[in-house]
Symmetry: C2
Subunit: 226 residues, 2 copies
C-alpha cells in the first residue's frame, strides 16, 4: 500500500495537543492537565494524545477533546504544527496544536477530575512543559484576531447570555476594556444577536435581559464586527 519511493524515508510519532478555552466569572480560562505519565509526570501540560493509524488529525484532536470533556463536535481550529527535534524529551514527536472553545458548564466534571485537569486563569498560568506555552501564545493570538470579525465567542457562553457577559468575554480575550455604550450599540446593529424575553436575576438585583445568538440569521446576514 505504501509506495516504494516513500519507504526510504523516516517516520515519526505524531500527536495533537489541545488548548481548551473556557469562560467563567468574567475570566478566560484554560483546561490544563497534570501529566499522567512519564517523562515529566505531574508537570502541567496541555491535554494531548497520539494520532492513530487510520485517523485524520482533526479527528484525533476531537477524540482527545471528547475523552477529557465528554463533549462531541466542539468548535476547534488548528493552531499549527510544532516540530523541533527536541521539543518532547520522550522521543521525537511532531505535534499539531488545536484550540477549542467550550461552555464550561457543559464539561463533564467527573472526566476532568479523573484526568487531573483543572481550569486555570489565562492571566495566571502555571509553567507548562515542552513548548506548550508557545502553543498557548499562538492559540491566544489566533483567537484574538478571530474574535472581532467572526462570531466565535458564543461557543464560550451558555445558550442564553447577558450583554455584560458578552462584553466581559470580549474584554477578557482582547485584554482591554470596552466602552459599554459603544459595545451595546454595535450589538444592537447585529440582528442575529437576539433579545429574548428571559431575564437573568443571578448576577444582578435589577435583572438583565438574556440574549441568544441565532446561527441561521447570521448565515444570511454574513457580517460581523464587534
Amino acid at each position: 500500500m505504501t509506495s516504494k519511493f516513500y519507504q526510504q524515508y523516516p517516520k515519526f510519532h505524531v500527536a495533537v495537543d489541545c488548548i481548551i478555552f473556557g469562560f467563567q466569572a468574567g475570566k478566560l480560562k484554560l483546561l490544563l492537565q497534570k501529566r499522567p505519565f512519564e517523562p515529566r509526570q505531574g508537570e502541567w501540560s496541555l491535554m494531548g494524545g497520539f494520532v492513530n493509524r487510520d485517523e485524520d488529525i482533526e479527528d484525533a484532536a476531537q477524540r482527545v477533546l471528547h475523552e477529557l470533556t465528554g463533549l462531541h463536535g466542539l468548535y476547534m481550529r488548528q493552531v499549527g504544527a510544532f516540530g523541533s527535534v527536541n521539543r518532547d524529551s520522550g522521543s521525537r514527536v511532531i505535534s499539531i496544536a488545536y484550540f477549542a472553545l467550550v461552555d464550561i458548564e457543559k464539561v463533564n466534571k467527573d472526566l476532568t477530575y479523573q484526568n487531573s485537569a483543572y481550569w486555570e486563569d489565562v492571566t495566571h498560568l502555571p509553567v507548562l512543559l515542552f513548548d506548550h506555552m508557545e502553543m498557548v501564545r499562538c492559540a491566544l493570538q489566533r483567537l484574538r484576531t478571530l474574535i472581532p470579525s467572526r462570531p466565535v465567542g458564543f461557543h464560550l457562553l451558555p445558550h442564553l447570555f447577558t450583554l455584560t457577559q458578552l462584553q466581559q468575554l470580549y474584554e477578557a480575550i482582547l485584554g482591554e476594556s470596552i466602552d459599554k455604550r459603544n459595545f451595546r450599540k454595535r450589538v444592537n446593529e447585529m440582528p442575529f444577536i437576539e433579545k429574548t424575553d428571559e431575564i437573568d436575576r443571578v448576577n444582578s438585583k435589577r435583572g438583565a435581559t438574556l440574549y441568544r445568538f441565532n446561527e441561521r440569521a447570521y448565515q444570511e446576514a454574513q457580517f460581523f464586527k464587534l
Copy 2:
C-alpha cells in the same frame, strides 16, 4: 532514547510542502512543479519533501526551498498541517505547508529548470494534485490578512522598487484595485519606506523614483498600515 510509553504508538511519514510566491510584471505567481516521481508523476504539484530524522520541520521547509531556488533564509511562514488519512495516494503522509515570499529575479533558473518548476499566475493555476490547491488557498488567505498590517510584501520585490510596483503588488495580492493618490499618501506617512535618488527608466519614459524598505527604521517605528 524513545520513552517506553511512546513506543506503542504508530509512526507516520511527515512531509513539508512549499507555496512559493513571486511577483513579476504586475502579477502574483506561484512556483509549481511537474511531479518527478510516482505516484502521479507529471502532475502539477507544490514543491515538497520528506522531513529527515534529525531535522526541525522549519529546517526541512528551508531545505526544500533552497534545493529549488538556490536561496537561503527566505521569508517563510507556516500555513498549517494537513493530515487527512487518504490525502496522499502513495501512503499515509502528514504534510506541513509553508508559504515563502521570494524575489523572482534572485531565483536560480537552472535549478528550477532541473526540477521542472515553472512560475504560474495565481489567477490561472493548473489543477494541483492531492490537497495542494487547498494549501494554496490557505496560504493566499494568510498572505492577504498579513499584508495590510505587516511589511512582508517587500520580500517579493527587488531591493529598489517604484511605488507603482508596490501598489501593483498590493493589488495583485488583495485582488482589488487601489486609489493611486490614497496609496501614495499612506506610503509617505511611513518613514521606513525611503525615497532614494535613483530613477527607474525601464518601465516608464519619464522615469520613476526608486524606493527602498529600511528594516532597521521599521523596527523602531513599529507601525504599518497599507
